[in-house]
């Protein structure tokens, strides 16, 4: 692979002149510039970004460390990050931590060594080990989706508390009085905030304590499935569920389906997180939708703005609103007396079976 030197020799100029032409810095006469460009074309010369980065101490690269890009929320968010970054000439490295603090720390170490200019981080839990490390090395950070306590960094997230509140309010307005929450991990801020929003809405109604039921689990399908078992074991049973993320909802739906409990006739379900538009031909779930792409885009903007600025910028926190979308998974509760008969009544699918519901079942195959 040819170098600056090769180009310089072929063009009969010094390496510095070639450098100037490439970076469009300083002044060069049109004549020599043409000669240099000709040599560059002739050799198919590609500047070595590594050398450049080593010298200039900037890699024009940022990293996006998240829990799992397989989650459609993060996929969309990642797309927002990439689109914003590339328009400014930045490349993005994606890293999946699978909610593990250890993996996260490992990645952060690698990223520091690779001298990325900044890191967009969805903290695995409330752990601050990697934030500490990043701080020590003076790397700018934007914390995404989850709250970072006490660290002076940029933050951007959806208002989980308010979103949860509106979702639960919707259920209350339909007449539900016993509502259970299928929550994520207790130490993940989004989960805690959504539970807080739930409590605020419930407390407003001055309902008896037993009407509130919070079950903590994981942000995944299997956990949603398990949590339903606990819901079904409780008495009196709730008439509505609030799933704090999409995967939990899918697991829950599968479990309800297996138990012969119909949605929303027997039990309503409201969910935090929508699926991207166009992925379902007949959206079924009532949800609170987050502006995933926008979160990603703005997170990148926060970072790039900071990197472009030569003066220090005070840490900023951006909280974006969510949107309640009422669909068919929520309805008024069934009459009290029918509440105890959960027999799968001879399937009276008042819904044309041809109408596919939004979603899921046993894992078919997916290598």
């Amino acid at each position: 692979m040819s170098t600056l030197n090769d180009v310089a020799r072929l063009a009969g100029v010094s390496t510095m002149t070639v450098s100037r032409v490439i970076n469009d810095s300083g002044h060069t006469s049109p004549v020599t510039r043409a000669r240099v460009n000709k040599a560059i074309a002739e050799l198919g010369y590609m500047p070595n970004a590594l050398a450049r980065q080593l010298r200039s101490r900037r890699t024009k690269t940022i990293a996006l460390v998240l829990t799992d890009i397989t989650n459609p929320f993060f996929t969309t968010l990642a797309r927002g990050v990439e689109d914003a970054a590339r328009t400014r000439g930045y490349a993005v490295m994606f890293c999946n931590t699978d909610e593990s603090e250890l993996e996260e720390l490992e990645y952060v170490r690698v990223l520091i060594q690779r001298r990325v200019d900044g890191i967009l981080l969805v903290p695995a839990t409330s752990s601050s080990g990697s934030l500490q490390l990043l701080h020590d090395h003076g790397l700018p950070v934007v914390v995404i989706d989850r709250r970072a306590h006490s660290w002076q960094v940029d933050q951007i997230r959806t208002d989980s508390e308010a979103g949860a509140y509106s979702l639960v309010r919707h259920l209350l307005d339909l007449g539900h009085r016993r509502i259970a929450v299928l929550a994520g991990p207790q130490n993940v801020s989004t989960s805690a905030d959504r539970v807080a929003g739930y409590h605020r809405a419930m407390d407003e109604q001055h309902l008896p304590p037993e009407s509130q039921q919070v079950i903590f689990g994981e942000y995944n399908e299997a956990s949603g499935f398990e949590m339903i078992q606990r819901v079904l074991a409780s008495s009196p049973r709730p008439t509505a569920l609030f799933a704090t993320n999409n995967f939990i909802a899918f697991g829950a739906m599968r479990a309800l389906h297996a138990a012969g409990i119909r949605t929303p006739e027997d039990m309503s379900i409201a969910v935090f997180d929508d699926l991207p538009a166009g992925w379902t031909f007949d959206p079924f779930l009532t949800v609170v939708s987050q502006p995933a792409y926008e979160i990603g885009r703005q997170a990148a903007e926060l970072m790039l703005g900071r990197l472009a600025s030569d003066q220090p910028i005070d840490p900023r926190t951006v909280v974006l609103p969510s949107a309640l979308i009422v669909r068919r998974s929520t309805a008024p509760p069934p009459p009290e007396n029918a509440a105890s008969s959960w027999e799968p009544t001879a399937a009276t699918p008042r819904e044309a079976p041809s109408l596919a519901l939004q979603t899921s079942g046993p894992t078919e195959n997916h290598a």
Copy 2:
């Protein structure tokens, strides 16, 4: 940020010794090694990967250039790539081309400059501009998902032709005789191959030419929606549809729904590409499923194997099998006389178990 030199000075040894300790290369006495490690810890030293890469001429980085990571098939594939890469100490850069040859070329240029060790590429179309460029610069390539004509590179993909054949055979076996294909772009190999599989299955039945209808569009939801308009305008109408990817299917389903046409009572639909397990609580679509994660994993393995080898390796082509999963979107065609009356008749729910069949065996040839 501290450097090798700082560590060397603090430990009272030469930089080379520090280098050896870090890389575990050559021999170092336990005593000095301990002293060096102490200095490293004390300074919180992080090796500069850029300098290392510049010197060693390897970045331990590969790139995955694909059309759109927002597509669940590619998301899962990407995860497979990352998991495989990281276990060998490689980082991955993701790039979305949005099916644009121009964007692809732009990215390839950037990646060459950044001196990635290799590129995993889902070609935007049959275009070979970027492949040519990569070839000229001696960068190893693994072409994923789509065929690369005439280029001596590693390739890995699903057997689209066989998968499409099995899907169409399934429709034929149900009794359908007029089957339309909602295809992707004509110049994308997966689309062409799926259409070819369709033709093979149809031709075997010696059906009249008018029973075959192929409509080319784009691999997205909007296109699926539009293509249905052409299907509905045709006469006689097909009784079954074959959508060549998931997004097209979603657009088609939405259009059918809007037109009051029920699936599968009025019209069956079979789809290439499943949704990841756990994302739907009641899978409805009959599909051919690709081993997305495995394709990604093996693509990375092909690349890393090549990079690890010091001898040249002949180009390899790996074709993985797909799996037919029969669900509820396909059923026998409606009786002929009823074909013109599209009134939503009182739904006759049909319980169809999902069974998974293997369509084609693994084909691994070393070209």
